[in-house]
């Protein structure tokens, strides 16, 4: 059975084989780079090395996301330290030739920019550095050490205590204290308990969880297993979007490898602890991100939420106490248990600890994935790290939190990013999608876009959400067609309140947020539509 000694041996062997090569070329094969044809680049590199007779001295590895997704396909060269973007297969010879000299300037991405320098990587520490399909690589990066140490040297209560001390809050969006949730499940009565990983990343514009699953799946498995040990669960489920085939493939491989090494299954680490994880595929229903709907879906039913309480912590999957956390939350667990809650809590703000991964997209120069300490300002993210908007575009708003969030205008850009501050300006942290909107975009149209999403995704169980979103959509259509009256505006405001207050679950309760935030900051665009002077179709006339 697996023990710390055995882990050391695996790590040693992996490091030795890495050391045997003078160089290592890492090619990103996560989804975005793969669609930018990184696989042919990887093949070309292998071929070129073969041609140059350097196969044994330079390893070509397939790794996860390196961050600058808009520059894909990305490759990095170690120990040279070069990072290349937009690499084509025909560039392979040049890259190989430069291994022992200076990096190829033409392809290099400057890593001294804020995009790289301002990042603090905890969740993404291994991302882009290890081969996600090799458990040995993860173990060589100190993986599964926290788990085995905890199993042999710490009680479940001590593990929970460490998570409580870290101040970690749910990264799925709502920000519920993770330690508190774990405590509740640990204390809940019941012989069978479950741990669920919510990997149903439904927010359009968010791809953090996808990157984590594709780049470092073992980190999530280790976090889930630690959670299971802490709360006393023996079975786990990962509910992952069917739209992420690569993440599913890598998770499946990771599950097989972990089971083979005795890191999942019976008597893990030669202790009494048993834990198994199964994958469950989603079906493309946004509402299944809501925990009770997700549970219904794992049970093979329509993903309809139910009123809480009882909370899943007491009455969850198949009626048993269930712990549900998001991918990024689980990805934070192993480092917390390994390095201590205090270490984690030393980052971030008073109420929001640690780091957060954001997906930067929309009208922004450096689109991609970043991990930043909580408390950084939106301006730093958008303009310093993101490099601002492409030439000729002017900043109008940044949208956070997906269809449940809001649009934040320039006036609030100096706000520190944490759960409370974002809520105070009418948006939410959400899962971490950040879309930059330029001034060519009509904000009423943006609101309509999100309302259309919520209307289609409403599960239909409760009336305020099912009918309310449809009515709001109808009203927003009138604004976009410049046929609205001032009475429509009053009705819209009223409906926002009703839907927010009376809906059953988070989908409905937050559906009015995009309307409310655009009404708050861009009211003039609604008024223009009433008077018939505004712009339609979302774009400025030339």
């Amino acid at each position: 059975m697996v023990s710390l000694d055995r882990l050391d041996k695996i790590a040693h062997k992996a490091r030795e084989s890495q050391r045997a090569c003078d160089h290592s070329v890492n090619v990103c094969t996560a989804a975005a780079c793969q669609s930018a044809q990184s696989q042919p680049v990887l093949n070309a590199l292998k071929q070129e090395l073969k041609n140059a007779g350097l196969e044994s001295r330079c390893a070509v590895r397939s790794v996860g996301c390196m961050g600058p997704c808009a520059q894909g396909p990305c490759i990095s060269v170690e120990p040279q330290g070069a990072l290349y973007g937009k690499v084509r297969p025909e560039d392979a010879a040049e890259v190989v030739a430069s291994l022992s000299t200076t990096p190829v300037e033409r392809l290099a991405i400057n890593t001294s920019t804020p995009f790289f320098q301002r990042q603090t990587k905890i969740v993404l520490a291994n991302s882009g550095r290890i081969d996600p399909e090799k458990i040995e690589d993860y173990v060589a990066a100190n993986g599964y050490r926290a788990l085995l140490t905890a199993l042999t040297e710490r009680t479940p209560a001590e593990v929970i205590q460490e998570v409580v001390k870290s101040g970690l809050r749910g990264r799925g969006g709502a920000g519920y204290p993770t330690g508190l949730k774990w405590n509740t499940v640990a204390k809940a009565a019941g012989s069978q308990k479950y741990v669920i990983c919510n990997a149903d990343e439904g927010d359009p514009g968010a791809f953090m969880d996808r990157a984590v699953l594709e780049s470092d799946p073992h980190r999530v498995l280790e976090g889930m297993t630690l959670a299971a040990y802490a709360v006393g669960a023996t079975r786990g489920y990962i509910y992952v979007r069917a739209e992420y085939p690569l993440a599913i493939e890598r998770l499946r491989a990771a599950l097989r490898q972990a089971a083979r090494q005795g890191l999942l299954g019976q008597r893990i680490g030669d202790t009494e602890f048993n834990f198994d994880i199964e994958l469950r595929l989603g079906g493309g229903a946004f509402v299944c991100g809501e925990e009770t709907a997700l549970i219904a879906s794992i049970e093979g039913r329509r993903g309809l939420p139910r009123p809480r309480p009882p909370f899943p912590a007491n009455y969850g999957l198949f009626g048993c106490p269930t712990l549900i956390n998001n991918v990024e939350t689980f990805a934070n667990i192993a480092p917390i248990v390994d390095q201590g809650g205090d270490w984690f809590a030393s980052r971030g703000t008073e109420k929001s600890k640690g780091t957060k991964v954001f997906a930067l997209a929309g009208q922004i120069v450096n689109g991609g994935l970043i991990e930043v300490p909580m408390g950084i300002t939106l301006r730093e993210i958008v303009f310093d790290m993101g490099g601002g908007l492409p030439t000729g575009k002017k900043f109008k708003a940044v949208q956070t939190g997906g269809p449940s969030g809001g649009c934040i205008p320039e006036a609030h850009l100096d706000l520190p990013v944490d759960y409370e501050s974002l809520r105070a300006v009418g948006s939410i942290m959400g899962s971490g999608g950040m879309i930059v909107i330029d001034d060519g975009q009509n904000m009423v149209d943006v609101a309509r876009y999100f309302m259309d999403f919520c209307m289609c995704e409403s599960c239909g169980k409760c009336v305020p959400c099912r009918v309310g979103t449809a009515m709001m959509q109808d009203l927003l259509n009138r604004f976009c067609g410049r046929q609205a009256t001032s009475r429509d505006l009053a009705t819209l405001r009223h409906l926002c309140e009703v839907v927010r207050e009376a809906s059953l679950c988070g989908l409905g309760q937050s559906a009015p947020n995009p309307v409310l935030s655009t009404l708050q900051y861009f009211e003039q665009e609604y008024l223009d539509a009433i008077l018939g002077k505004g712009r339609s179709n979302g774009h400025a006339s030339p």
Binding site: A31, A32, Q34, S35, A36, P68, C69, A70, G72, E201, G202, D203, P204, G205, A206, F207, R210, A242, E243, Y244, R280, L281, G282, G283, G284, A285, F286, S297, I298, E299, G300, R301, R302, G303, F318, A359, L360, A361, G362, Q363, G367, G368, L369, Q399, G402, G433, I435, V436, I437, D438, Q441, Y449, F450, F453, E457, C459
Partner: protein
Amino acid sequence: MPIGAIKPVAPSEDKRWRIVHAAMRRNGFRRDALIETLHTVQESFGYVDDISLRYVAQSLRVPLSAAYGVITFYHFFSLKPPGQHTCVVCTGTACYIKQANQLLQCAEEKLHILPGETTPDGLVSLLTARCVGSCGIAPVVVIDGAVEGNMTPERMTAQVTRWRDGQP
């Protein structure tokens, strides 16, 4: 013999039914395996027709009404056979900001169908996705399963023409 004990037989001799059967057996023919099994059917056959749905519902002893409720609830499942080629336009926020609606409009005009439909000759199915998670390279279109970033209406048009000419 109680109704539950009747073991439904596979709709045809097609070997793919064995894969479906194996998926159900792996889950102990439990009711909660419904969605898992439907995924397997769709993966094997490309879509889930009435016959498949009946077979799966009976095998797992799920009322047909509940099974139909499930399959129509989740967008991922298709009840109609897909066209020879599929074109999925992502309509996620990042793609929306980068004019995905123009791409969709272009595809609709070139193919003379609406999203969710297949051309009458069965050549192309046009679909939309909520977000495929490749926002860094928006706007994105998934063409026959491959994600294509930074898409333009011109490239869309060229692709449709290639399909019409019998090329991939």
